[in-house]
Symmetry: C2
Subunit: 122 residues, 2 copies
């Protein structure tokens, strides 16, 4: 698979899982993974999963607007930047967001080393 296909599959899996079963995201991170979620900085799969699962909304839907990937080094890692809209609970006004992932190969698959998420306020 090309880096673009890998990134595309990852992004689809990530947001499908985020929107249906957030606890399923834990397997994507490792102990050295980092998440910046708005102004919060968390390191390690356990803390990242706890943060994501504990976010104060029940229902969430991501809609991707743009998705761009690039190979990020000779080790086969990939950088992905996503922009899109996110809809929380019963709200009808989506909020825009930007998110960057750094995917690193591991045993035939990939894990998320870096994850930066920001809402885009007007």
């Amino acid at each position: 698979m090309s880096f673009n296909e890998i990134a595309n599959q990852f992004v689809k899996y990530y947001y499908d899982t985020f929107d249906s079963n957030r606890s399923g995201l834990a397997v994507l991170y490792r102990d050295n993974s980092m998440l910046t979620f708005e102004t919060n900085q968390i390191q390690g799969a356990a803390g990242i999963s706890e943060k994501l699962v504990g976010l104060p909304f029940q229902k969430v839907v991501h809609r991707i607007s743009t998705f761009d990937a690039q190979p990020a080094g000779p080790d086969g890692s990939i950088i992905v930047m996503v922009t899109g809209e996110i809809l929380f609970d019963e709200e009808t006004n989506p909020q825009r967001y930007s998110q960057t992932f750094h995917l690193v190969p591991e045993g035939g698959s990939y894990f998320v080393l870096n994850d930066i998420f920001r809402l885009n306020y007007a």
Copy 2:
């Protein structure tokens, strides 16, 4: 310097140079550097510089809204995601943008291996 200070200095230098003298950005890229600028994909410092210098506006001002950095691996590389506003020429309505940089160390300094830029349309 911490990764955060390095990223902060880089971002300031990058946008100051972009807004005052775009041709000065060429030194930040190498032959293996990649730029995704909206739907355009360019590899190599020469092509990237040509693209940036040739963008069809004379005056441009970037205003940073958020700036987040993370260490991106044992080699000392750094991932930076910026969100902000950009104002072209005589326009008075800024457009929102998102940009991701992957900075890789080289001889006491850093170069841009990955650069992904997208305007955020509402």
